[in-house]
């Protein structure tokens, strides 16, 4: 079936592939530099030890988990309109988890020792479990997506053994994001992270950002191919984004309430740093206000049905949701947790060029995987139409 990624590609398709390969190549060259010099090539320091890479990782785990927003309605509630689109969600999950794994890999100081996590399994470590759930989720989505699409191509029903795997993928999707939230919510002394609602916030922002991206991707797919995921499916997904984004913003405001009404300074410091600056340091302030404004703007667009039902407006809303959650859950959450540091001093962080190029390279690899998988799925669908 993979042959369909090569056969019948248009000129545009190959240009796109070449473009992604170029970005991936630039990223790889910069990664080799980082591999030789060390992580000092990034903007990280003793005080801010995780940055842009882990921000992308955290955000993308959410995108990966969001496939479940299609799987649940389609397989549990027999919502037929998702029949065509569910494969796009599963393949998006494959691409997102691939990026997650790459972002963890490039963040390691000793990447050649990565298998130590398997050699010395440590059930007490959340990171060990994160590895387990992420690799499991990747496998599940590859197997499920490939098998169902293969069956569809042959015009036969999917084999029976896939069903239990599909059901398993539902709690598994929740688990990847819960475990990722536990990376943060379980460490003492970092007040921005030490919150019981962290996993819930992660799931809410995931179910907003993931389906938002899926809507945009569906619109692109419709434009570049004969395969139409369907207006109704896109509209239904739009409602999911509306609910999830509302929950996401609501959960964030809960954090703000607890920090400021309780009056406990240590609970406020990170939020103050993020939104108005602390001790004269305010690098993330413009980013965070952009995220906040975009979040409310997107809610306005999504909640009012008259706006959401117009597809071009829905696409704008989805782009704003995506950017807003990317800032908030990426840099805001990860870097904000490190500021102020354990001595209540402020050391800021900004990315370096190699760090950004490596990051772009990984996104390019993710989109390459996505493009290839979508090309196969689209080709199968176009055969059916023809």
């Amino acid at each position: 079936m993979l042959d369909k990624a090569i056969i019948g590609g248009s000129r545009k398709y190959w240009t796109w592939i070449a473009f992604l390969l170029t970005l991936a190549g630039i990223g790889t060259i910069n990664y080799i530099r980082q591999f030789q010099y060390g992580l000092g090539l990034t903007g990280l320091s003793r005080d801010v030890t995780w940055g842009f890479y882990i921000a992308q990782f955290t955000f993308l785990v959410g995108v990966a988990a969001s496939a479940v927003m299609l799987v649940i309605p389609y397989y549990l509630h027999n919502f037929k309109k998702y029949g065509k689109i569910v494969i796009l969600g599963e393949f998006l999950a494959v691409s997102a988890v691939t990026m997650c794994i790459l972002f963890i890999f490039v963040d390691l100081g000793q990447p050649m020792r990565v298998m130590n996590v398997v050699l010395h399994p440590t059930p007490g470590s959340v990171m060990f479990w994160d590895m387990v759930v992420l690799s499991g989720y990747l496998t599940l989505n590859i197997v499920i997506g490939w098998t169902t699409l293969g069956a569809e191509r042959k015009g036969v029903p999917a084999p029976k053994w896939v069903k239990p795997l599909i059901y398993l993928s539902i709690p598994w999707a929740v688990s990847i994001h819960t475990v990722t939230a536990f990376l943060y919510a379980g460490v003492p002394g970092r007040h921005l992270w030490l919150t019981a609602i962290m996993a819930a916030r992660f799931l809410a922002s995931a179910f907003a950002a993931g389906p938002a991206l899926l809507i945009i991707l569906s619109m692109i797919v419709r434009k570049v191919s004969k395969f139409d995921p369907g207006k109704d499916a896109i509209q239904a997904l739009g409602k999911t984004v509306a609910y999830a984004m509302s929950a996401n913003v609501f959960f964030f405001l809960l954090e703000v309430f607890t920090a400021f009404y309780s009056g406990i300074p240590s609970h406020q410091h990170s939020l103050v740093y993020l939104f108005s600056g602390l001790d004269g340091h305010a690098k993330l302030v413009p980013w965070m206000w952009s995220a906040a404004i975009l979040a409310f703007f997107s809610l306005f667009m999504l909640i009012y049905p008259g706006l959401r039902e117009k597809e071009n407006l829905l696409s704008i809303a989805c782009v704003t949701v995506f950017i807003s959650t990317w800032i908030d859950k990426g840099m805001g959450l990860v870097v904000g947790g490190f500021i102020p540091n354990m001595f209540e001093r402020v050391t800021e962080y900004s990315t370096t060029l190699p760090e950004v190029l490596i990051t772009i390279g990984i996104w390019a690899i993710g989109f390459l995987v996505l493009t290839i998988l979508y090309k196969v799925a689209i080709a199968v669908r176009e055969e059916e139409i023809a």
């Binding site: 320091s45 440590t122 990171m127 460490v187 003492p188």
Partner: protein
């Protein structure tokens, strides 16, 4: 078949326990104050001892005295110095009251305390968050004396321990430490302690390598004349640390987090 570092350390630990003397026991023995029956009571069941440190900051008066401790440690452990905060690696350093004990101060803190510098190092917690989060057990708590140690050969450099440590005690080798200017002169190198490689985390190890030879930690030795740092077995009621804790009001950094630091400060009175 060669044994790995972990096994080696285990054997060292077990043999000291079997001998009835932990790392600190060695010290006490050297001073002729050891109790043959210095059995642990309650905590750390079945182990030899729990090493702890009391820093009497009243006795450290000049910046020079702090510097002696810091230099002794950093020299003993070949700690690289790149001369910039971004690559900074430190095992022991100083900070003021407000930043050493965040949340513990108020606006009317005695001037003497407010202006004082405090020695900071790994707290050697009884329940270390760094050990809990490490995905490879590259950082671990030694059973024989409770020292939180690093296996530089196993660490994958994920830095989860640095995110988890509430005391900012850990440093990461952002670049090859062997290229640090201060380590270029062979005269500055301590051949008895390994240099590290890039991409691994490091921190204070309570001088486990010196304890093995019956020596005191480098910082304790460096300010010996001031008697400012007392080091010994917390499980031995007759030890000097227990005597200090009994007779002085001591505080810990962030005790509310439940990690049970094994580092205590006498700050006044």
């Amino acid at each position: 078949m060669s044994m790995d570092r972990r096994d080696f350390l285990k054997i060292i630990g077990l043999s000291t326990v079997a001998g009835g003397i932990g790392g600190a026991g060695l010290l006490e023995l050297r001073k002729g104050t050891a109790e043959a029956s210095s059995a642990p009571h309650g905590r750390n069941k079945g182990s030899g001892s729990t090493l702890a440190m009391v820093i009497d900051v009243r006795k450290l008066e000049s910046p020079d005295q702090y510097k002696r401790c810091i230099d002794a440690c950093h020299k003993a452990h070949n700690v690289p110095d790149f001369g910039n905060p971004k690559d900074e690696i430190k095992w022991i350093w100083t900070d003021d009251f407000e930043h050493t004990f965040p949340g513990a101060g108020h606006e009317y803190v005695a001037e003497e305390v407010e202006k004082k510098q405090f020695l900071l190092l790994c707290n050697q917690c009884e329940k270390p968050a760094c050990v809990r989060v490490c995905p490879t057990q590259a950082t671990f708590k030694r059973a024989s004396d409770g020292i939180v140690m690093m296996d530089y050969h196993r660490c994958i450099g994920c830095r989860f321990c640095m995110a988890a440590c509430p005391f900012g005690a850990r440093s990461f080798n952002w670049r090859d430490p062997r290229t640090a200017p201060n380590l270029q002169n062979p005269a500055n190198l301590n051949p008895k302690f390994p240099t590290r490689m890039k991409g691994v985390v490091e921190k204070c190890n309570f001088c486990a390598e010196r304890l093995r030879e019956g020596l005191e930690p480098a910082c304790v030795e460096a300010c010996k004349d001031t008697k400012a740092i007392v080091f010994g077995n917390l499980d031995d009621p007759k030890s000097e640390v227990r005597e200090m804790l009994r007779t002085h009001y001591t505080i810990q950094r962030k005790p509310e987090l439940g990690t049970n630091p094994r580092l205590f400060y006498v700050i006044g009175g």
